[in-house]
Symmetry: C2
Subunit: 212 residues, 2 copies
DNA sequence: GTCTATATGGCGATAGAC
DNA sequence: GTCTATCGCCATATAGAC
């Protein structure tokens, strides 16, 4: 009987969450007003409070969902049993695709966790990311590849930096290196899916040569 | 006669600018209140308005100064006439040192330019950064090194990403890879000054091998 | 130049009708 | 569940005394 109400309810909540994610990502937690979010969702401002009590709770809910998008690719790079270099490629591919669809995500997430560093620890555990195993496996694989002296954490940091930074630094890069040509920059972002693994591949070749 | 007043004046303005930079970087433009800044500077809140009229103007002044710190190392990598790989090393070194002293700078700057992408264009020109020449020179040097197929802009993006990202992602990395051990992470950041050029060096070796 | 006191506006939050 | 009306706070900004 109240199918209508229920479905409207679910729909409203979903619309709030989508609108919130969009507005929070584009304007930041403090820059976004409840009115902005209500407008984006096409609903009355009071409804936000009805569904999520207050701005903080709404933000927390949204942030957890958004932050979670960063994890799957990170988990996959350790659990998969494929050869090391293939996994690296897949990692870059998976991350790039996610970021191409969520270009505002990195700035938003890293801004928030730098203001509030502690909130991530629990979320990471909930998502089942166990770093110790990852880096141990990483290390033995690097040794097999002849890169004994490459700390796996450095490789991981470099990898993430190469993949994510072009999104964070887009306004800067696009201005200085692409004369503000957005389409050219989009193409550039897509190219990186091949360029990054290529750079790493060359490094592995270099390492194996130097080893001899 | 009014030496006292003048020097107090200069001192006050300098203290405001230093306090503003610190507070803005740690709390963000919107998170920082004029009262926060006044407290940090040890002065009355009204003085901020006396010297800089309003919060926006104060922020703009501070941002320009802070953003400018990103430029010199970028300029040096193109103007210097030393061998290519040495310049890469110096670039990493210079940037890392600057970031070790300004760890909050990247999040702050990239947050702001992503909210307000246009403000950087003029500043860049004022600082005398001419990207076209840079990348042209870059390209010919990459060819000499046997990396014909490496777009210089990709190399530049990778380089900046590897250097800067560990600062932006510190809360994340430090949690997942260093069990929140801040000292260990500081050491890690310092190590990157050697690790990043080493990775690139291996890639160059790999490229020259593959070329044959 | 520096302070105290005050005006102004915006935003989050809630009460209450429907 | 959804809307209208309203309350109260806090931060920016300014007026005016010293």
């Amino acid at each position: 009987m109240n199918d209508n109400k229920q479905s409207r309810e679910i729909d409203t909540e979903r619309r709030i969450l989508e609108a919130s994610a969009k507005v929070f990502m584009m304007k930041g937690k403090l820059g976004a007003s409840m009115q902005d979010i209500a407008d984006e969702a096409g609903i009355n401002r009071t409804l936000l409070h009805y569904y999520f009590r207050n701005k903080d709770k709404l933000f927390d809910t949204v942030f957890e969902k958004v932050f979670a998008r960063l994890i799957p690719a990170m988990v996959s790079i350790m659990t998969s049993d494929q050869p090391f270099q293939e996994r690296l490629e897949q990692f870059v591919e998976a991350y790039s695709d996610m970021l191409l669809e969520n270009p505002y995500l990195p700035v938003f997430v890293f801004q928030e966790i730098s203001l509030n560093p502690h909130r991530i620890a629990e979320t990471l555990k909930e998502q089942g990311f166990s770093p110790k195993k990852t880096f141990k496996k990483f290390r033995s694989e690097l040794e097999e590849a002849g890169m004994d002296d490459m700390d796996p954490r450095h490789l991981f940091a470099s990898l993430l930096g190469m993949v994510i930074f072009p999104y964070i630094g887009r306004p800067l890069f696009q201005t200085i290196a692409f004369q503000d040509d957005a389409k050219a920059y989009d193409a550039f972002l897509d190219e990186r899916k091949k360029q990054i693994p290529q750079l790493l591949k060359l490094a592995f070749i270099g390492a194996s040569v130097q080893k001899q």
